[in-house]
Symmetry: C2
Subunit: 250 residues, 2 copies
């Protein structure tokens, strides 16, 4: 029982050069790594390390498994892409902790942050999140779609830049088009929309469209979508456009 711990870590957006040393050191001490298959695939196998890869949509099972292994003395690392606290495994582990045996609350549990996708996408394009902004998960697995639409409309009314996580899924192919329709109703301008695919990987591709021309099929499951605020600007350059939101709203 003694000596076990759980570290819920963020691997960053993809490139190894963006994983923090804290996360790398913690992975080096692990007995078990738990996570969604494509994220576990980023961890190099070694003697003494068991890799537990699971399918998507079983976050609570995965979280419970991590806590059970730690309670039995395991040095358990739960991996997410990006940051573990942003639409990722940290909340799932705490849900499992709250629902589980009281003894689990004595476990050593740490969350180690990572570079979340919107920061990597923003950096790749310039600085579209340079003024007030929000992050909305477009997946409607765990919330009603009308709440998502209401939240998008209020975010546009507040003139936030908006980062959409999980903009597309096989189960809900029209969600992003419906989100753009809400934005067009609320915004009525030509603000830029960034489609940032597979950021920091060799497949990275950036595309900018004005809101009236933005379409759901410009994104896939590896795309981060960032909608500018009313003040977001584009600087044209030979090397490709830069997108940024000025600091001032005066």
């Amino acid at each position: 029982m003694s000596g076990g711990w759980v570290a819920i870590v963020g691997l960053g957006p993809g490139a190894g050069r963006m994983m923090t040393p804290e996360v790398a050191d913690t992975l080096a001490q692990a007995s078990d790594v738990i996570g969604y298959l494509p994220y576990v695939a980023r961890i190099a196998p070694r003697a003494g390390l068991t890799l537990h890869a699971s399918d998507n949509r079983v976050e609570i099972d995965r979280a419970t498994h991590a806590l059970e292994l730690a309670a039995a003395g395991g040095r358990v690392v739960v991996v997410s892409s990006g940051d573990p606290g942003v639409f990722a495994m940290a909340a799932a582990v705490f849900e499992a902790l709250e629902a589980g045996p009281a003894a689990w609350r004595d476990l050593d549990i740490r969350v180690l942050p990572g570079i979340t996708a919107m920061l990597a996408a923003s950096a790749a394009a310039g600085a579209p999140l340079g003024h007030d902004f929000c992050a909305i998960n477009l997946s409607d697995n765990l919330k009603p779609w009308d709440l998502i639409e209401r939240r998008i409309a209020l975010a546009a009314e507040a003139d936030f830049a908006i980062a959409f996580y999980n903009p597309r899924s096989r189960a809900r192919p029209d969600g992003l088009d419906r989100a753009f329709a809400v934005l067009r109703d609320t915004c009525r301008d030509r603000r830029p929309v960034l489609f940032a695919r597979a950021v920091t990987t060799p497949e990275q591709a950036l595309r900018i469209a004005a809101l009236p021309e933005a379409r759901g099929d410009m994104a896939d499951m590896r795309t981060m979508v960032i909608i500018g605020s009313s003040r977001t600007r584009t600087i044209d350059r030979a090397g490709g456009p830069l997108l940024y939101t000025p600091r001032s709203a005066l």
Copy 2:
């Protein structure tokens, strides 16, 4: 003229273990480091490296200086705490770029992300940003205070968790109390408010207060404030409370 570049980098929240290898490698190649004095103080001096530390509120001068040095062949790193794209130097550099000589647009300019303060604060406390959230800069240097209040009210209406950057300043000691008043009017519940001071440094201190009891003087200039959504929960433990927002809003 040839060979110059500008990298606008995030040093992370404070601890060296949270700076990405990409940023560390880029600093090792720099001829010049430019930034606000306490951030430049985090860079080790070495032969061949000139450190340019400046006071706060001169971001545009600093950004222009960086572009001038790069145009003259310098390998220039502009440093921010946290992430450079979140209420930091990246937007200032692009403002200076847009206002400057056309030739500057041919410069090699990169933004290298870092762990922004809200991610580090969230990780230290649990996962309060585990569902939709927003980030609002409470500084009214560059926007009117009534816009800040309107944005806070809309964010609460959308039921975002809310991260406040720059919650207090000497020039505006009552801003955070006014922000809490707006939230109390809109929310009318006892949602938790996290005060996370000097996160990841030896002076780290976390405090949680229910919204009705939250006061502006619980924060100082080194504090990140995160207000939970209506669903944010606290798990009591011998080792200190954990704060998290469940993934589901069903």
